[in-house]
């Protein structure tokens, strides 16, 4: 039973109840649909919060084990409640804000920075027929929302009345807009072969073999994962927030809960890009080569694997300098992604010629 069928069933049941009591059924159906959407939205928000907490714990445990130490193991079984302790600590911190700050930018930036990431959660393919909003242009929506986050980082950097924040903010924006283009082009290669931007079509086209198991798919996946690491400001691309370089970049002057909001936004962005990579390249809710059929467990495993990969990168590679980063993005990744698109075009031309 898909989400749409479940919605129709519930709405019809409510309408039957309302007609039996003499209430106008169209308004009753409307109220039921709105209630279902609110429930779905609540589930999405719960997922975002839980994912934030779990990822902070996962980061600390993964980094600890990669550095041959144990990590948090006191606060609850395996240190699972460490995130709760961190959140309580951040809530209790003093809320300092710099003098001469720009009120609107300073206060709005931490509130708005999670918005694009949370908006993306509505379009992920969790299970066959269970995409909450299956837009015809789903992938374009995800890319567009990712690029709308840039101006909010600018607000954060500008509003702090601090040269380091401004500089960090500008570097972050330059990095994000540089690495956005190869990411979109890498995803375009998949869109070309699938012939549609709809998330369910893209995932269902990989029911037998994942997109990563083809030459162009592998190249596109590598490009996408590099660009995803750069867009979420993870090491090796985190010069804008490297402590030894720029204090903390655009979130230097934020204390307490405002810093926690930036932190959670970074982890939510990681989940978003991992989910997009899993859906577009790794086959979404399908097992490898059709093993095990469609299941949300596959999607969960893939997202966790991608997040683990990004955390692995953090403790393996040294940090890139800003000019090396920009050189790599413009002079290496962009030509490779264009060449990949040409390759996909030629491959598709030969495929249709052969038929």
């Amino acid at each position: 039973m898909t989400l749409i069928e479940l919605t129709i069933k519930i709405v019809e049941w409510v309408q039957a109840l309302a007609a039996a009591r003499g209430i106008d059924p169209s308004w009753a159906g409307f109220a039921a649909e709105v209630a279902i959407m609110c429930v779905l939205g609540g589930i999405v928000l719960a997922m975002v919060s839980v994912a934030g907490m779990l990822l902070i714990w996962m980061e600390r445990k993964v980094s600890a084990h990669m550095q041959s130490r144990i990590g948090p193991n006191r606060v609850g079984p395996f240190g699972l409640f460490q995130s709760v302790a961190d959140a309580v600590k951040l809530l209790l911190k003093e809320d300092i804000s710099p003098r001469g700050k720009d009120l609107i930018s300073f206060w709005l930036a931490p509130m708005l920075i999670s918005v694009p990431a949370v908006m993306s959660f509505a379009c992920f393919p969790y299970h066959k027929g269970w995409i909450p909003i299956d837009l015809d242009l789903g992938l374009l929506y995800l890319m567009a929302i990712g690029s709308a986050a840039v101006i909010i980082i600018f607000m954060a950097g500008y509003g702090s009345n601090n040269k380091y924040s401004m500089l960090g903010g500008m570097r972050t924006i330059a990095q994000i807009i540089t690495y956005e283009i190869p990411a979109v082009l890498a995803v375009t290669a998949v869109v070309m072969t699938t012939g549609s931007l709809k998330m369910s079509t893209i995932v269902d086209a990989q029911s037998q073999v994942w997109n990563i198991f083809s030459v162009w798919g592998l190249i596109a996946f590598i490009i996408y994962i590099i660009c995803a690491t750069a867009e979420t400001n993870r090491t090796p691309f985190d010069l804008p927030e490297a402590e030894s370089e720029l204090v903390a970049g655009y979130h230097t002057e934020y204390t307490g809960m405002k810093f926690a909001l930036f932190f959670v936004a970074e982890y939510t962005n990681m989940v978003v890009v991992s989910a997009i990579a899993s859906a577009v390249f790794l086959g979404g809710y399908y097992g490898p080569f059709g093993l095990g059929g469609a299941s949300p467990v596959w999607m969960l495993l893939k997202v966790i694997a991608m997040i683990y990969l990004m955390m692995w990168f953090r403790w393996t590679f040294p940090r890139l300098r800003i000019d090396q980063m920009m050189m790599f993005g413009w002079k290496v990744l962009l030509p490779i992604s264009f060449a990949n698109i040409v390759l996909v075009g030629i491959w598709m031309a030969f495929k249709t010629l052969g038929q």
Partner: protein
């Protein structure tokens, strides 16, 4: 005028209310763009207007246009404007920008004339409220149209973009120092 509100189904109420809300947000945003003293806040209000325009496109079923509006306007154009604002201003100059200059009277007269003209003509125009034979403007049809019916404009815009790129690179190139071999060793 209130009779038209009698037979509206629930989802049409939602569309109506959200349209008025988005329109109010856009008008307020546009007002703030021209009256805010802090230029960065004016740029942010422009981002609000651009987002509102994207939502209006989505309400009119032009989905591709709406998402591209977000990607291009909010993602790139507003960022560019914000960069330009920041790089050409000293910090904390928000008190120096006056909202009006010495041409208040003539600006009132000209804007008032244009406003009167618009208020007279817009309600009496014959607006096209239904589109009779439009195909859905999804990515497929737009892509097809760009490469078949509108190929020449497409190529012309590509050449224009190339010229812009080259021009930007030439304009922002650093001047090479005049003869450096004397002190380089």
């Amino acid at each position: 005028m209130m009779e038209q509100f009698n037979n509206i189904a629930p989802w049409e109420w939602v569309q109506l209310i959200s349209f008025y809300a988005i329109a109010a947000m856009m008008v307020l945003g546009a007002l703030f763009v021209v009256t805010m003293k802090n230029i960065f806040h004016a740029a942010l209000s422009l981002a609000v207007v651009a987002m509102g325009a994207a939502v209006v496109y989505l309400m009119l079923d032009a989905e591709f246009l709406g998402f591209v509006q977000i990607m291009v306007y909010v993602g790139a154009v507003i960022t560019l404007i914000a960069f330009v604002v920041m790089l050409t201003q000293r910090a904390n100059q928000s008190g120096d920008n006056k909202a009006t200059n010495h041409q208040k009277f003539i600006s009132f007269v000209s804007v008032g004339t244009v406003l009167a003209l618009l208020l007279w003509k817009i309600p009496n125009a014959s607006w096209l409220t239904t589109v009779t034979n439009a195909e859905l403007a999804n990515a497929h049809t737009i892509g097809n149209a760009l490469l078949t019916d509108y190929l020449l404009p497409f190529e012309a815009v590509s050449v224009l973009l190339l010229a812009v790129l080259i021009g930007a690179i030439v304009l922002s190139r650093r001047e090479k120092p005049a003869k450096d071999d004397g002190g380089a060793e």
